[in-house]
Symmetry: C2
Subunit: 193 residues, 2 copies
């Protein structure tokens, strides 16, 4: 499969200070192994199915696919603009890596790679569905705005960033990142119901 | 993310009888856990980088993404037609699962799910690049056709099936399979170099 490369920037990295909560806080760098961010709430090759997978019984052990949350600074600004709030901190929604310079970041094709200068490589596993918990965390910072939690899901659709898995272990820190985009093709076979 | 479902068939399942060789042979069913097919050569969450990943140092421990090889009976027939050979057995190229009834199977979007009747679910991790080893194994069955190994790579491009990871563990056997295709979008952002 062919890939095309282009350059972007990592402007912040964040980790969960207390694994009991999805909220993240800025750190100097993240250390990863092939199961995710070492010490992070979402570390692991597998996880339990939850509300995002209504087709699996809750609690079923499943492949993770959600080791790392990556968001784009431009998309967070656009969500904030739509919600009419002054800012949306990446830590409020549990982001681990904040990218700048990738237009329509959330729409990057599945299988795109983020290649970091220090050796780590992430694989895009698809867009991160907005959830009520993240919305509630945002709303907590704007108590004068009832209903903000529910408005988040709509404002954030296709802008909430991606989930990713570690393909090659290594540190992740602010600085240059190469985005490798696989060849895109539309599948038109079959008659979809 | 929205999915659309349609129905297809599994016509054969195969496993590696001797883990020293990638060749597979038909079996009644495959037993999977979240690291792949139990007892198979490719079982594991991680693997060593090889010739398919020239961008990694050979031998680097990396995320697998290649637990299971899935091919389509229609595409194998088309490869055989192009190579002018009477048949191409899925075991010769190390396939584990043989699907029928999915047009352009190899082009299914990354992230498509194969949901098997007995509970296993596979995630499409992209098309399987044809390799010389598989070509050599085919050529071994047609000694009167020198050069067949090299011709395979060209004839099989976009027809050699996909690689997949196990999302939910369970047995895989011939019978019905539901293909779940994620919403497809073209990413057009940025100026690709």
């Amino acid at each position: 499969m062919g890939f095309r490369n282009f350059e972007a920037q990592i402007v912040a990295v964040l980790a969960t200070p207390e694994p009991s909560h999805f909220r993240t806080e800025p750190v100097d760098h993240l250390q990863t192994d092939l199961a995710g961010i070492i010490g992070d709430r979402h570390h692991g090759f597998t996880r339990r199915a939850g509300a995002r997978e209504p087709w699996y019984a809750r609690g079923t052990e499943m492949r993770s696919g959600r080791q790392v949350s990556v968001v784009a600074v431009e998309e967070l600004a656009e969500i904030a603009r739509r919600l009419e709030i002054p800012r949306l901190e990446p830590g409020w929604i549990g982001a681990n890596v904040v990218v700048a310079g990738v237009p329509e970041f959330t729409l990057l094709p599945w299988g795109s790679r983020l290649v970091f200068g220090q050796g780590a490589v992430l694989v895009n596993e698809g867009d991160n569905a907005p959830c009520r918990f993240a919305g509630a965390e945002i709303a907590r910072h704007f108590p004068e705005r009832p209903g903000l939690d529910r408005q988040f899901s709509k404002a954030a659709i296709h802008r909430r960033g991606i989930v990713a898995s570690v393909e090659r272990a290594g540190p992740i820190a602010p600085g240059a990142v190469t985005v490798r985009v696989p060849e895109q093709r539309f599948w038109t076979g079959g008659t979809l119901l």
